[in-house]
Amino acid sequence: MEEAVQVKHVWMLFNLSRKKEERIKEYVIDLLKGQLFFDRFWALRDISFTLEKGESFGIVGLNGSGKSTLLKTIAGILEPTSGSVAVQGVVAPLIELGGGFDPELTARENIFLTGSMHGLGRGLIREKYPSVIEFAELCGFEDVPVKNFSSGMRSRLGFAIATAIEPDVLIVDEVLSVGDARFREKCERRIQEIIGRGATVLFVSHSAGQVERICGRALWLDHGEMRLIGPAQEVCAAYQDFCKGKG
């Protein structure tokens, strides 16, 4: 089997400034007072795993356990402090809730804009356009500015665009927690289809049930460390026990 994603000993250090917004004024004042401190903390500690092509891999963990940070290093948004991440092929992060949309623009314009962010050309987007509109169930709303959309319509559009790209590695971060049950099912089916096509899927969710249904293997992150990695059922069961114990 070919390797799609290779994460090797990734450590990620965050320097958190105690201030929310930095200003020159405050910087100068702090400098004079000799108070230029940062809070440091490790968001990821020595994460290593390998995903094979066509595998679907789930990541579970509590809030703040480093799930999103890990996905961002894989998506290339963040560079790890040490260690390396190697990805074969095109990575498409699913932007949650259609966060990349420009509310002033219409659905049609947003499809072209978002498609271009994923590195697609105009011709390719035009080709995929009808299927995106159809999947998002937005026929007749194509020329309505996205700010007038309901949150469900927005997330449907976001999902439809990201999955239309036919990526080699699809990153799904909590997106499936939105929309009604029927659309959620449709999304799950779409992800299964993408997996069937031979793409690798990285899936993050609070819901252990969803991870179990969709993924073959899973990783449980706890405070930036790998707590458990293995078959999805085992990991999810252990994670759920842990959550019950805490609750």
Binding site: R23, I77, L78, L105, E109, F112, S116, M117
Partner: protein
């Protein structure tokens, strides 16, 4: 450098879409739409001409063209750099979710300002013809100083955009800097009124050369001296490479500060 070429190959269409989006937003909702780009310099020219032309009547003939030549190229640089200041912070949400070449955001602002500048060449030509000043053959060379000014502006915008991520109040400071800059560039007054001891200061102002070259090509119809070209070119190359270096150095910390 190789990464830049790769970015343009993959995300070139994204850059186009960015520029189109800003353009669309700027003009779509207004009644006069794109006419504003043409009307705005004309109205500004009207006001400034009424205020200052009698003052400088003797030293500047055809004040409207003199003024337009200066202010158009100056505003191109000022608008682009001003908008670049907020270019990264405004798209912070996006940059946190998907990998995008971040320098495209300031770059799109420069491109948009350049498009605006080209549109505002229309009123300049109209005024030149209307005031019987006419156009000289040297007018055809006008893209050269614009290109030099664009190189300078890209460098400046990259540096400002990157620094604004770290210091959010940079825009207040820069507002003051551009105000001083407006007065330190001979835009609405003739160069002859500058006292000799201040002339040296003006020689360190890149805008002085871009405006000067543009003006001599379009307004005077003469070729600027070779030395001016050399200095202007040096300013452009230095600022452009400096801006790229600063942006590259600061890029790593963007994520923590956005």
């Amino acid at each position: 450098m190789r990464q830049v070429i790769k970015d343009f190959e993959k995300y070139g269409y994204f850059l186009q879409e960015l520029i189109r989006r800003d353009f669309h937003k700027k003009y779509y909702r207004s009644v006069l739409g794109i006419l504003w780009t043409i009307l705005n310099p004309l109205l500004m020219m009207g006001i400034i001409t009424i205020v200052f032309s009698t003052l400088f009547e003797r030293s500047i003939e055809n004040y409207p063209v003199y003024y337009l030549c200066g202010i158009l190229i100056f505003n191109f640089c000022k608008d682009a750099s001003m908008q670049s200041l907020g270019a990264l912070t405004a798209n912070a949400g996006l940059m946190r979710k998907i990998y995008l070449p971040s320098y495209f955001f300031p770059l799109s602002k420069v491109a948009l300002s350049l498009v605006n500048f080209l549109f505002s060449m229309i009123p300049l030509v109209l005024v030149a013809l209307f005031t019987r000043a006419g156009l000289h053959w040297t007018f055809l060379l006008f893209p050269l100083p614009v290109l030099l000014a664009a190189g300078f502006t890209v460098g400046l915008s990259l540096a400002l955009a990157a620094m604004a991520v770290y210091f959010r109040d940079l825009n207040h400071l820069y507002g003051l800097v551009t105000l001083a800059w407006t007065y330190l560039t001979p835009l609405f007054y003739p160069i002859s009124i500058i006292p000799a001891q201040w002339m040296l200061l003006l020689r360190f102002n890149p805008m002085f050369y871009y405006v000067g070259i543009f003006r001599s090509l379009v307004y005077e119809g003469t070729l600027p001296p070779a030395l001016d070209w050399v200095i202007a070119g040096l300013f452009s190359i230095l600022t452009l490479s400096g801006g790229c270096l600063i942006f590259h150095a600061l890029k790593k910390g963007f994520f923590l500060h956005l």
